[in-house]
């Protein structure tokens, strides 16, 4: 039996009857179900649920539990639990009484992608107010049932009772259980005051962790369905220029004649293999002889930044305050420097995987996309089907940190399934994910910052070069010949008015974006966790330190004097206090191994963050070891401080990795960093001690907390290098070779 969509058209209300497990008559094979303990019914039909209906958001079951329909994906960041915390708080339920279900197009509200660390910030208010509205409706019903005005009712754990008469009570489940509310969602129900919170702000444990520890969690890579084939994509090892794609000159199908079950599937320049046996698919993909045309048009790793500067660009003044010419002309100290940042790759630890089952008029695609509705559009385009016929079902993959190859894998699986006439599971190989990633953009910056004789910042100018994010996934580009294109822009794609100098009170400021066209001779790029912020902070916060030095001020003291905003001051002081920051005294020692400390500020698009790094530098080898790193974040009301501490801790470690080690390398034709040897990341023996600090502000709206510390952590390490050695590096990663070369020039 095929695990497929057709004939399983359940009206959404049937979901409600299922109560606990939400496992209803899904026509999937035994094995598939066994591996889908939390499987939900596939609901076809309307394009997506009506967001103005309360039933789209909340279902109350007869067993006095609630299902909250959340349009965001769990990525290991804890958002699925934290959003339930918000809902449980407003509903007066405890955490054991709330759950959510697998995210799927058609059944779950379209809340946009799970991006920009904004699930709580952007999604939270809707979940909260829907829960409050559901509670309001339940209280109205209870009022009627108990014949008592709403004002005299109180709720605990979903049991409504009359104040002072606890024997007069009714459960939520008895009021509406198993039935829809049939009420509009207006968003007008009053919300609880933070002063009355019982759950929000507490350290409720993550719901996904026990199964992950036990090995019972179903990652996308674990999903199998009966009768499926294993698929692999066949591409050159390492992408070339985005606009060139890769052109097939010839495919020699005889080259895999000895692998009996394997079959080649080709659609224009998209080449894949399928086989009933996974090892046959792996071998066939490796063995298939394909001659590719990859023109030698790339600048090579070394020539990349020169090429960016020489490019014809689209320029935009992002911010212009005061008069920078006047600001610089009257300044006591001016520093002007150029900085460079590399392309980096998401490189999920388990390469992306997707499973597609295309039939004549319906399709089910299981994948790890951050946006099921966008993935549905992308799949529709490559298979030529209307979107409403396609269901995208989300399974968490390995951590993605932005737009890795998940949609590419989903398209590849769909193309292969359509051609093979069977369900196809595509597992990208290590080199597919590393070599064909949508890289975090490289960056080039000219920074000029000035202060007066008293150490007050007076002028700030930042020019940044990078290309915008790609709009076409590789599978589509190869299969349809869709021309490479880049997004027209968003806040995360150009120089950032949130991150660049924004923490300081500077009367004269100018930020200028130079958009490079990445299509002809560069790579496809996308949002890699805290897009561009590492490069921004690396450039801007080092220059701030240089100005402070000229003014004769300690870097912490200098920053403090130039900040008026209490949120920025709050994180700066919190991190300095945790690290017991004291100004450097005396000369730098000339020992083989020297130590240094650095401090920096930064963010992504919301929240406030700061970091301190303590490092050791071996002056003979150039190797930097980060010994201890501190990160503080003020994300307003932090729904679950434990989750944010885990995020900060991860951000700090990832920042050390990206600052010291990570760089996509390439020659004239293609990318050459294809695995963990050619693209090394931080290991256990290099891992610093970490101190995460949450600055809790229950009375403030929630902001993002998954990206903001990366930038300041990067800059703090670079500033610590100067503190230790007297040398500044203008390009990262801060590899031993680069550090040594600088020390020798010094």
């Amino acid at each position: 039996m095929r695990p497929i969509a057709s004939a399983n058209t359940f009206p959404r209300r049937d979901l409600l009857k299922a109560g606990g497990a939400l496992l209803i008559g899904v026509a999937i094979g035994k094995r598939a179900r066994a591996q889908e303990p939390d499987g939900v019914a596939l609901v076809l039909g309307p394009d997506q649920p009506d967001q103005k209906s309360l039933d789209t958001w909340i279902a109350i079951h007869a067993d006095n539990t609630a299902t909250v329909f959340v349009g965001f994906v769990e990525l290991g960041q804890g958002c699925s639990t934290a959003l339930l915390q918000l809902a449980a708080e407003e509903l007066d339920l405890d955490m054991a009484q709330v759950k959510t279900v697998r995210l799927e197009s058609h059944t779950m509200p379209n809340q946009g992608g799970t991006v920009a660390s904004a699930s709580i910030q952007r999604g939270g208010p809707r979940i909260r107010s829907a829960a409050a509205e559901a509670r309001q409706a339940l209280l109205r019903m209870a009022s009627e049932k108990l014949n008592t005005p709403v004002e005299r009712l109180t709720v605990e754990k979903g049991v409504v009772s009359v104040m002072g008469e606890p024997q007069k009570s009714v459960m939520y489940g008895a009021l509406v259980g198993g039935k829809p509310f049939h009420l509009p969602y207006t968003g007008k129900a009053p919300l609880k005051s933070f002063r009355d919170y019982k759950l929000v702000g507490t350290r409720v444990p993550r719901k996904d962790i026990p199964d992950k520890a036990a090995g019972k969690y179903v990652h996308m890579q674990h999903v199998r369905v009966p009768g499926m084939l294993h698929g692999r994509v066949v591409r050159p090892r390492g992408q070339g220029a985005y606009g060139s794609g890769a052109k097939v000159l010839s495919v020699d199908e005889n080259s895999i004649a000895d692998i009996s079950g394997a079959r080649v599937i080709r659609k224009r320049d998209f080449v894949g293999v399928v086989a009933p046996n996974e090892w046959d698919a792996v071998r066939a993909a490796r063995q298939l002889k394909v001659t590719w045309d990859q023109p030698p048009v790339l600048p090579g790793t070394e020539g990349m930044h020169q090429q960016m500067r020489a490019s014809k660009t689209i320029d935009r003044v992002v911010l212009n305050n005061g008069d920078i010419a006047a600001g610089f002309s009257g300044a006591a100290h001016v520093v002007k420097q150029t900085y460079q940042g590399p392309f980096q790759v998401h490189a999920p630890f388990g390469p992306n995987c997707a499973l597609a089952d295309l039939q004549a008029d319906t399709a089910l695609v299981m994948c790890s996309t951050q946006n099921v509705y966008d993935a549905r559009r992308k799949v529709a385009e490559v298979v030529g089907m209307p979107v409403e016929k396609i269901t995208i079902r989300y399974y968490e993959g390995s951590g993605t940190y932005g737009r890795s190859c998940y949609d590419d894998a989903a398209q590849a699986a769909a193309i292969l399934s359509q051609a093979a006439g069977k369900p196809v599971r595509v597992q990208f190989m290590r080199w597919d994910e590393h070599g064909w990633g949508n890289f975090g953009p490289a960056h080039l910056a000219d920074v000029r910052i000035a202060c007066d004789a008293s150490g007050k910042l007076v002028a700030y100018e930042y020019h940044g070069w990078q290309n915008n994010w790609s709009t076409v996934e590789t599978s589509q580009q190869l299969a349809l010949g869709t021309p490479a294109g880049e997004s027209t822009g968003s806040v995360s794609q150009e120089v950032s008015p949130f991150n660049l100098g924004a923490m300081y009170l500077i009367p004269n400021m100018q930020l200028v974006n130079h958009r490079v066209d990445g299509v002809p001779t560069s790579f496809k790029t996308s949002n890699l966790r805290s897009p561009l912020d590492l490069s921004f902070s690396f450039a801007s916060e080092q220059t701030i330190d240089e100005v402070a030095l000229l003014a004769g001020l300690d870097p912490y003291e200098f920053r403090k004097r130039n900040i008026k905003d209490e949120r920025w001051l709050g994180v700066l002081e919190a991190v300095a206090q945790a690290a017991q920051w004291t100004p450097r005294k005396g000369q730098r020692p000339s020992a083989k191994v020297v130590t240094g400390r650095g401090i920096a500020l930064g963010t992504h698009t919301s929240s406030w963050a700061a970091a301190v790094a303590e490092i050791e530098v071996d002056r003979e080898t150039g190797k930097i070891v980060v010994k201890h790193i501190y990160g503080a974040i003020d994300a307003g009301r932090t729904v679950n401080p434990a989750f944010v501490e885990n995020q900060i801790s991860g951000m700090l470690v990832q920042a050390v990795s990206r600052t010291l080690k990570e760089e996509v390398t390439f020659n004239k034709t293609n990318v050459t960093s294809l695995d963990w040897h050619s693209y090394p990341i931080l290991r256990f023996e290099e891992c610093p001690d970490v101190t995460p600090i949450v600055v809790q502000r229950m009375d403030q709206p929630s902001g993002g907390a998954g990206e903001e510390v990366l930038g300041p952590a990067t800059a703090a390490i670079a500033n610590a290098l100067f503190d230790a050695t007297g040398v500044r590096l203008r390009e990262y990663p801060l590899t031993p070779a680069r550090v040594l070369a600088s020390l020798q020039r010094h």
Partner: protein, 168 residues
């Protein structure tokens, strides 16, 4: 499809049909439907596919089926029973102390690397029951985590070692 061979996985003798050159990972994942070992690189660089072979942490992605022979394979699923045997417990616990410590420390983010982390940490504690943080770093160095959970893995292994020590 090759002639069936018998291998010993999680204390059970099982018959598998993969060809002798098939990496053990694909046999475990597809024929035996085990979710512990998982594909990460296929190059023995990352540790996501780790299993114990006769108690030794082994990368199943590059270990052909033919190399297994009579050896005993333990996957994540079989670790609690393996742990019980190591410690002469009458009954296998639901989770090894290492796994419980990962929960107690809320160490996990995406969790994909935790198969390898769990297998390797159990191997470590079987040989070195009370490791220092430095010994943990050295032992675990061949296991990568892209989410950056290393500090919590170290803390959790220390916690598990302490718990195991208390029990002994």
């Amino acid at each position: 499809m090759a002639n069936p061979v018998q291998i010993r996985v999680n204390d059970r003798s099982v018959s598998v049909n993969s060809t002798p050159d098939t990496p053990l990972l694909y046999v475990l994942a597809n024929e035996l439907q085990l979710n512990g070992p998982r594909f990460g690189c296929g190059l023995a660089q990352c540790g996501s596919c780790s299993v114990l072979v006769d108690g030794v942490e082994t990368r199943s992605c590059v270990t052909p089926l033919s190399k297994i022979g009579n050896k005993s394979v333990t996957t994540l699923e079989g670790l609690p029973a393996w742990y019980a045997r190591q410690h002469n417990l009458a009954q296998a616990p639901a989770l090894t102390p290492v796994q419980q410590a990962f929960i107690d420390e809320q160490a996990i983010q995406c969790g994909y690397c935790y198969n390898g982390m769990t297998v390797k940490a159990n191997e470590l504690l079987s040989k070195t029951p009370q490791p220092s943080a430095a010994q943990i770093r050295t032992a675990m160095n061949g296991h990568l985590c892209r989410c950056g959970t290393y500090p919590r893995v170290i803390k959790a292994i220390l916690r598990a070692a302490q718990k195991q020590g208390e029990r002994a």
